[in-house]
């Protein structure tokens, strides 16, 4: 069985994601320099012992900015994820429990949301409601919601016809109790895996929005903004783009590996095959 590979992706993914989280948390209490401190004399410094990853065109320490950027990116993505799951999971569970017109309404609503290109609509929302991290969270979250709604409904529909649900009905449980006690715990694995994948997508979306100036606002550093600022120096100082680019790729890779590993770990069919 291919178990070692699953284990590798799980542990590597968990290590990368954990490291990113640790860096983001560390930036709350310590960064090598204040991430917004301008030091025009040492502008565009090369990586050295003083400035580990060098400085940007106005002399801000890149390592410090990346650390603070991790905090902002993860926070926006996390809240967006909470918005998406918080809306999508209850709607999907409701659709599966009630069926009929409620189901139709929720699913056609999801179809409608799916029909719009997510990032473009996020741009529109940010443009209408004004740029900023808060609106970015809302926009990204709104587009994760239908994903969660569909997934929850589909997985829940697989649980409802099972005998222990009927047994719970004969014991006098209503739809709400059965959903909370029996349906959701049985599909938690699928939802957790989807959450890690959506988390990665949310990080990318946040970087994209910040890149076009609709996400995290200056002076708060963010990976997407750093990429945008590096554009004009792409030939003279490519490291300005490479470091935030690496940070984004590495985080997304870590989360995807984690999701992959978790899926294999939580999938009962694979577990039985071992």
């Amino acid at each position: 069985m291919a178990r070692p590979i699953h284990a590798v992706s799980l542990w590597l993914g968990a290590a990368i994601s954990g490291a990113m989280l640790a860096i983001a948390l560390l930036s709350l209490v310590w960064t090598p320099y204040p991430p917004t401190a301008i030091d025009i004399v040492h502008r565009l410094a090369l990586p050295s012992a003083r400035h580990w990853l060098g400085t940007d065109p106005i002399g801000r320490d890149i390592a410090s900015m990346l650390m603070a950027g991790a905090r902002n990116s993860l926070l926006v993505a996390l809240i967006a994820l909470a918005v998406g799951a918080g809306l999508g999971v209850p709607l999907g569970a409701l659709a599966a429990a009630r069926r009929g017109w409620v189901d139709e309404l929720v699913m056609r609503g999801s179809d409608l949301a799916f029909a719009f290109p997510a990032l473009l609509t996020a741009v529109m929302i940010a443009a209408l409601a004004g740029p900023g991290a808060g609106n970015a969270m809302l926009a990204i979250g709104l587009f994760a919601a239908p994903v969660f709604a569909r997934l929850t409904r589909g997985a829940a529909l697989g649980v409802w016809p099972r005998d222990f649900v009927l047994a719970a009905r004969t014991a006098g449980r209503g739809n709400t109790t059965i959903t909370l006690l029996h349906v959701l715990p049985n599909i938690a694995g699928v939802l957790i895996v989807q959450a890690t994948i959506q988390f990665a997508l949310a990080i990318l979306a946040e970087a994209g929005l910040s890149y076009v100036g609709l996400g995290t606002q200056p002076p708060q550093p963010s990976w997407g903004r750093m990429l945008a600022d590096a554009q004009t120096y792409i030939f003279t100082a490519p490291r300005l783009a490479i470091f935030p680019g690496l940070a984004i790729s590495l985080t997304v890779l870590g989360l995807n590996l984690l999701g992959d590993g978790l899926r294999d770990l939580l999938d009962p069919r694979l577990r039985r095959a071992r």
Binding site: L166, R169, A171, G172, R173, N186
Partner: protein
Amino acid sequence: MSALLELDDLSVRLPAAGPVPLLDRVSLSLERGESLGVVGESGCGKSMAALAIMGLLPPGAVVSGGLRFDGQDLLAAPEAAWCALRGRRIGMVFQEPMTALNPIQRIGAQLAEGPRRHLRLGRGAAESEVLRLLDRVGLARISPDRYPHQLSGGQRQRVMIAMALACGPDLLLADEPTTALDMTIQGQILALLAELAAERRMALLLITHDLGVVARHAARTLVMYAGRVVETGPTPAVFARMAHPYTHGLFAASPHAIMAGGRRRLPTIQGQVPEPRARPPGCCFAPRCAAAAEDCRQSPPMLAPLDAGHLAACYHPRAAA
């Protein structure tokens, strides 16, 4: 005094499955402390009857006739009234103990659900109640912290019974409670059910296709075929006469019948239960019945009394032995 459970010409129609009723004018009554065995082949409406009593028919089902529990008209009852009855006053045991328990919940938590919800017990009281229940169904040495997959089939069925009994119901529906279990365990489970029913003066509705089970564990027998009651009465009377040819055919086709007769091929009833939409105009059993005559194919026979409390729906009932 009126009966605990009364079905009065109860019919169930599923428009999605065609115009023919899946349950056709089924009447039965059950007193406290009484046991009734419902027998029949697969697809003859036994489980449908149980779901109707539980109010858990598939959406869209059209029900007519009367259904009363302890004097309460259930067909007019709102969903909230059903929820208060299910689990509290009517318990149900399922055929498949493997799938009727939530695989990711400890058995103690599943057992405690009923008492906590219906009897409003606190956490501690519920915990000791769980231990008492496990002890009562013979699982005193099984920890409530176990998961269903850590138990054997028989143990799981005992857990199911404990769950059904948790709130001290007045009526217990057991839908093929032993079909998924091996022979040695079957006897134990049925004996436990009978014992608990006697101890709590609980009415027991035992649904099965095994005539042997009914003969040993039910005071009264009701034979169903194609959604209708074809014969009903006190178990000894039904088994002594087997007035309906279907009852006789069922008995002849069960291994119990030939145990005494030495080795020979197990007889079968030719053909199968007609699909609801393909039921013949006359007696539904006529196409498979050796004794069928012209009148059987014209119109369906009604239940008619043979002797004290013993009824059969047949134009040509077998004579008393």
